[in-house]
Structure formats: C-alpha cells, structure tokens
Symmetry: C2
Subunit: 507 residues, 2 copies
C-alpha cells in the first residue's frame, strides 16, 4: 500500500511532505498556545454589522496583525455611511511574476445570545474537548506546558465563518517568514467587513480600487472543507434571485360554511400552481427551465466523478429517507438551477386557524442560478409558466376591475438584488498549481468541485476587477455556521495555515 501511494504521488508529480518546515512550525506547541490565545482574543471583538465601533476595532486588529509581519496595510472604504472598511495589504516578492490575492471576511452573522448553549456566549470564546452535542466538555484554556489536542473545538461567533480565514492567511505568512520559506508569488490580502450582509458595498470598494486589486487569481478562504473532511477547491457558486408570488380569491374573507364549494380557495390555487412547477422527484417542470444551462465540461464531469460520496452522511445527519433528484448525485444536483419554496402562507394554522376562506395566498421562491442562466430570463420563465396555467400575471395588487375581469390573478415580482452564477474554469493553469500546492500538505488528491450550491457575489470579482476567484475553504463541515454555537475544530485551523502557506509557495 505504501509503495502504491508513493508511486501514485510520483505520477501526479506532487510530493506530500510529511515533515515540511511549515508542518513542523504549525505543530509546534509554543506556536499553537500563542495562536490559540491570540485567536480567542480576536474572536472576542464583536463583529456584527451595525456595531461600527467594534467593526473598526476588528479592522484595526487585522492591520496590527499584518503590521507585526512587516506588512503595511490600509483600510478601504466604500464611502457609504456606517459601511465597515475592508483591510488591504500587499507583499511584493522579488522575482515573482504571479500575483495571488487572498480573500476572507472578518464580519460574522448576527447573534441571538439566548440561543447559545449554557456556558456559551457568542463573543466569549470557550474551549471544548469535542463537539458540544457529542459529549464535548468545556475546559479552561491550556497552560503553557499542557499539550493542545487537535480534536478540541473553540466556540464563538466567526470562529469558523470567517475569522478562521483571516487568521489562517495571515498566520501562513508568519510561518513562511519564521521558517525562512520563500513565497513564490506576490501576495495581496483583502479582508472584507460586510460579507454576511451580502457584500453590499463590495462593488463600490472594487470600483474605487480596481488597480490596487489587480491579481492573477483570487483565493477565497470561506466556507467549510468537503463533508468527507477532505480539503477542496470550489471553482464556482450558483447565482440567486428571489421572487414573490401571490394569488387571489374573493376580496373579503368568507365563512367557509356559507360559501364553501362555491368561493375559490386561494390556498388551493397556490398549492395547484406550485405543484405544477415540480414533479414528485423535485425536477422542475417549468418550460425551458434547464435549456440555457451551460453543460458541464469534460473536466468538470471528471472532477465530479472523483468527489467522495456524501449522501450517506447527509441522510443520516438530516434524517432523510429519500432525497430529491431522481438518483442524481448530490454534487451534480448543485450544478443545476433550483426552484425552492422559502415560505408559503394562506390564512392561519395552529390555534389561530378559523373556518374561513382567506382572500389570498403567498409564496416566496428562491431561484438558484447556474452558468448559462440569467437572472431576468430565469424570472421570466416562472412568469411564463404561471401564465401558461391560465393566470393573468400582474406586478401590483389587483384593482377591483382586474378582480372582476380575470378568473385567475397572480402577482409575481422579483425581489431587489439577485445575481448570476460565477464559475472559474477548472483548467485554469494557476488553479491547477494551487491544487498541486495544497496536495503537498495532504496524502490524497484535493477534492475539486465545479460549483458550490450556495451563492456569493463572485461575479463582482470577474466584472469589476477582472478577477478569477476560486474558493479554498479550511474549516470543519459541522461548524454551525450562521447559527448558534459556532465552532472550529483546532485541527482544521492548523491545517488551514498549512494550506494557505502551501499556496503562497506554489510552483
């Protein structure tokens, strides 16, 4: 087995270095003690958007971290009131001809401290022996002589999403510096402060700093490693747009006895309309829904074939007997557009329900887009489908005249925002080099995912700064991202430093 592995590694032209200087440096207990304390202190600065003073404290702390390593930094502002700045730093490496920009964000999701487990608070980082819901016990921060267990978890808001990215990127450069390892590329650091609010001002910051943010590749350090635990590179994201849909019945709510069978029920109308959009396996039945999807490239298909199976883990974790998709793999399904019912409502359920025929029924749809889809065209497909079901589609509350004239009325409106998918080609030479660099830190092939299921406005990188983004996530999958009890497994944090350091030394 060992021989075979070795042969495989040679064929791939990649050397997994079991004892590289970086690995040794990262394993060093003194370093880990210092990092653990520094990182916990960093996490203790609240980072929820709107708390402008603390957002600035976070940005300044990052500037200090860079400054300690001899990197001059500056804060980039959008110019909008209360907008949190991005932190920018740059390292020019003599002889380097390639520039890689590293991205992470320092803001975190809003918190509801009441939802956090006993003994936990979002901005009071706490150490546990294991995952809280799997028997983990709270322990004090270790003394200098106590060995740090890589299975320990550090709990706190943004411990994974995404101060881990900020920490790993900067610490990777520290590891290079202190081990005398030479970076092979020029580096730019860009740490955003408004990602969780939808990067609302990123476009403005990009427009103001196009020259400064020029790079050959953007490494986005955000999100978790593959569900299997393997390191991965994600080459794209889906786009996203929301649609509000409302159907109508009588103008006044009616007694369900006095009018039942004669007066149409808007909930039933909505149910019939929604159910016309998907079959029992979740395939979208809307005409031309999949027609403009850019087919997967051969390379993407090959990559997908190599991605470890995750369905078994997910079905067990989510208690799902049978997923949608008619047998297509999880990852393949993420490369297709979606139509999801975020919410639907008519009348009341539970104790507030009454024997009434309501006047209207509403749904909010979430349309995820893939390469080839276009926001307005995707919304139009839904409009056309609703019209095909006999509805008169309007973009306003119906007038009395419209109610009298049209048997079936649907209001359909696109919500503000919404953007297309972004995908970076998997055969981009520089991305291949990043993959190989990461593979020097692991005894297996890095998982290459054509597109994540989720959405990020990565199109902004392409459109506004000619950037080619790829995502290299480092944290554990079960980190409770966006929710209460967010955490990071220390093993993943340390390995994240190695990952980023390897990219800085790509060949």
């Amino acid at each position: 087995m060992k021989l075979l592995s070795f042969a495989f590694i040679l064929i791939c032209g990649v050397a997994f270095a079991q004892n590289s200087p970086i690995k040794t440096f990262v394993s060093n207990q003194d370093n880990q003690h210092r990092w653990l304390n520094e990182y916990a202190e960093f996490l203790s600065i609240p980072n929820v958007l709107g708390d402008s003073i603390n957002m600035l404290r976070n940005a300044n702390r990052i500037s200090e971290m860079l400054s300690k390593l001899g990197i001059k930094s500056e804060l980039l502002y959008s110019g909008k009131y209360k907008s949190a700045p991005s932190v920018f730093g740059e390292i020019k490496v003599p002889g380097a001809t390639t520039t890689i920009a590293f991205y992470a964000h320092y803001d975190g999701q809003p918190v509801n401290p009441k939802q956090w487990a006993e003994g936990l608070a979002p901005f009071t980082p706490a150490l546990f022996t294991d995952r809280l819901d799997q028997g983990g016990k709270k322990i004090p921060f270790p003394t200098a002589v106590e060995k740090i267990n890589p299975q320990w978890r550090l709990y706190g808001r943004a411990s994974s999403d995404d101060k881990a990215g900020v920490f790993a990127i900067i610490t990777a450069y520290e590891a290079l510096l202190k081990t005398g390892s030479k970076p092979t590329v020029n580096m730019k650091f860009f740490f955003e402060g408004e990602e969780e609010a939808g990067s609302i001002n990123l476009d403005e910051i990009f427009k103001r700093n196009k020259e400064k943010l020029n790079a050959d590749l953007w490494v986005i350090c955000d999100g978790p490693r593959h569900i299997s635990g393997k390191k991965q590179i994600v080459f794209g994201v889906r786009g996203d747009v929301n649609v509000d849909l409302k159907v109508y019945a009588s103008k006044r709510p009616l007694h369900s006895g006095n009018y039942g069978n004669w007066a149409p029920n808007p909930g039933m109308r909505l149910a019939q309309l929604l159910s016309s959009m998907k079959d029992a396996e979740g395939n979208v039945l809307i005409k031309a829904f999949y027609d403009d999807v850019t087919p997967l490239t051969a390379l993407e298909k090959q990559a997908i074939a190599k991605i470890p199976e995750v369905e078994t883990i997910l079905k067990e974790d989510l208690l799902l007997a049978k997923p949608d998709g008619g047998g297509k793999s999880f990852i393949e399904l993420l490369t297709l557009p979606t139509l999801n019912i975020n919410g639907m409502q008519s009348g009341n359920v539970g104790t507030m329900a009454s024997n009434v025929i309501p006047t209207e029924a509403s749904a909010v749809l979430d349309l995820r887009l893939v390469l080839g889809n276009e926001v307005n065209r995707q919304v139009q497909k839904v409009v056309d489908h609703v019209a095909l079901q006999g509805y008169t589609v309007i973009d306003h509350e119906p007038t009395d005249a419209e109610r009298k004239q049209f048997p079936l009325l649907a209001k359909l409106t696109k919500r503000k925002g919404g953007y297309n998918a972004q995908r970076t080609t998997m055969d981009l030479p520089l991305a291949q080099k990043v993959a190989k660099a990461i593979e020097t830190t692991i005894p297996y092939e890095v998982v290459k995912v054509p597109s994540a299921g989720g959405s990020l406005p990565l199109f902004l990188f392409e459109q506004l700064i000619d950037g080619k983004p790829i995502t290299v996530p480092i944290v554990n999958y079960d980190n409770n991202q966006h929710a209460e009890n967010e955490n990071v497994k220390l093993e993943y944090l340390w390995e994240g430093i190695e990952t980023m350091a390897a990219i800085m030394q790509l060949k």
Copy 2:
C-alpha cells in the same frame, strides 16, 4: 297582473294580508319609537361570553321582557362554572294541540372595538340613515313625533346576531296580545347564551330538561334572510370537522443553496398533496368523497329550482370573476360536502422570508359534512387519500426512526369537536304550515332552502330532545354578522315581528 296574483294566492290557499291587525300594530309609530329605544337599551348590555355578570344581566332582562307579557320564565343552567344560562318560558294556549318552541340566542361574537368605524362602539348602539359604507350618516335617535324610516340601520353588537331573534319572538307575542289575536299553538321560548362559543353546554342543558323542552317543532330564529332579500326557511345545516395536516422534510432547516435540488422541500410536498385533493374547478378528488352523500329528495330538488339566483349579486359583491363548482348553482353546492384550506404555512413569507428549506409544512382543513356523511368516516377518507399518495400517515410528531424509515411522512389529526349535518324533511306537515303562515305576510312564496352552507349543532335537538328544527331567519343579509360594524335594517326587524307572529298563528 293583480288578478293573476290573486288567483295564484287562492290556488295556494294562502292569503297575503296587506293590512292585517299585526301589520298595522307593527307599523304604528308609537310602537316603533318604544321598540327602538328598548331594543337599543337591550343591545347596550355587553354580551360576550366570559363576562358572566353582563351575561346574567342579559338573561334577566329577557326574563323581564317575558314577565311584562305575563310569561313566567326560568333560567336553565348547565351546571358548569361560568356557563351562561338559557332563558326558558312557556305559554299554554287553551285548545291548542301543537307546541312550537322558539329559539334565539342572546350572546354575541367577541368584539375588537378598535376595528369598529369612527363614532361606533359595539355596545353603544347608534342609528344611521343607511349602510355605513354606502353613504349612511349617523343621526340622533328620533323624537316621538319624528317618523321612523324603515331604511335606517341600528348599529351595535348582536343587533342582528342574534338579539334580533330574541326581540322579534317576544315582540311578536306582544303584538298578538295587544291586537287581541289568538295564538293557535302552545309556545315555548328558549334563549341560549352560548351559541357563539359553539353551544358548548347546550347538550347538558338539553339532557337536564328533556321533558320541559319537548315540542312538535323548533323554530330557530338566527342568521339572515335570503341574499335576494326574500324571507326563507332553512331546513338543515352542514356538519363540520377540522383536520390538522403536517408534512415533513429534513429535521434541521437547511441552506437553500447548499442543499437545493437534493433536500426535499416540505412546502412543495404539501402543495402537491393538497393539489391532489381538488381539481381546477374545486371538485374534491378524494376517493369516495361524495359516495355516502344522501341524494337530494324530489322535494328538495324542486325547492332548489325555485330559489332565486344569487350568483350575480355575490360575484359583484366579492369581486369574483369565476366561482368554483363547474357551473353547479350556489345552493346546490351548499348541499355537498366541502374540503377547505383554512390555512397553510411553511417557513415565512414577506420580510421574514429567508433562503431556507424549512423542516415542515402545515395546513388546517375544514370539512363540511352533509346528510349521509359521518364525521369519523369523512376524516378517514382524507387519511386514506394521503396514504394513497405514498405517505405514511401518523398521529404524532415523527420519531427519528420514522423519519429515517419513511420517505413521505404526514401527521394527520382530527380536531376536537366536529359533528354531523342535520336536515329536517321538507315535507314535514308542520313546516309546511309555518311556510304558509309566513306567506300571509309576504306577496311571494317563501324561499325554502334544504340546507344552509354553515353549521350549527342542530343534531343536538334531534338527538337529545327529539326536536325537529327549522330555521326562520329575519335580518338583512349585509349585517356584518360576526364582524365589526354589525347592524340591522329596521325594516327587517319590524318584518321579523310579523314573521314570528304569523308562525304563532299558523293554521
């Protein structure tokens, strides 16, 4: 035309008396002035269940009204804590062999004073020149010399539903007394105080007073006259039962991007399940749904054919371009069982919507029953239908093991309460006599409706006191029953006295 009408009346054996002593007495301005003031005072006593002191004040006021006419009354209690009593009175008429019991209720629907129009309060009766939303102006109560306009409306809670019934029944007997008109039947008066709460203690009161409440016919004076404005007799009510339905997906809410296309959406499942229950015209597709419906009798069909058309009025009023029912008439549709979605919900709509795949979706169904249907059998039809769609139907929140085992899980539970339909045969001789009696007060045939669309626990009359109920409503259709700004048109109130007086003199 006159000759023809006269001929018709002779053929029917009924004489519409344009100037009967009762009509003259009811038209008398002194009487109307007195009644208007007395009725307004009666309405000013709050009558919402739970307000025990005022409920008792109402009951005592009714006893006084009876007492003034020489009728001894008593309060019938259910024995339950805070239960409002029913008021019972009786008149034995020498020589009479038939006993008619008159029913009305003195409690009203709960009120939210804030919802009432400016200048109106639920228990401060106010007089208007016309319907409030049709240009009606508030006017002071008239002085003794001012003529009372029958188009005026009296606003206040229970002005129509159902103190109007109490008032008309008692005042009808006053009219008989004071005009020297002889009643032809023994009479019982029964005024309930808990109808709006679902007659929750009526069974107990019936059980305790079976002998006392023995009668050949029960005249239920509740609800509005026919939408066309004509007087009507309603021979039955639909039954009613509510069902809670919930379907499930993953146990945790999921990111709609990260899992979209793979994780099933519970809202879509519910939409598909609900839409399988009805076709586009509102016909229920559940197996055997209509199979046990007792067919309409020839008499009922004849009666239906004679009922004035109401669709035109309703479509205009409710701004409905096309009703359900595939062309069946409004009244025919009320003789069929219903399946109505009172409410449905999954996730959130509006500003609270987020890009999530919710964990579950719920609906509350209202099943109206007609003659032949049985509550438990009707619910079972829905259970069977859900199972036929591939669902495992459970009556509890699913366990983890059930979630893992069954691809489709639906929780379906019948709500407490629920009762069958009741219908009194239209050829009941005494009911025919009531119809003829009413027709002495009108120049047209009384509208005979086999069944109302709504539900009342009239089966209690049949089951517990061997009663045969028919409903004789007196108030205007547009009275805002159960809602804010409840009102009664004085013309209908006066005509209601005539209707009840005629029944007391039936031949």
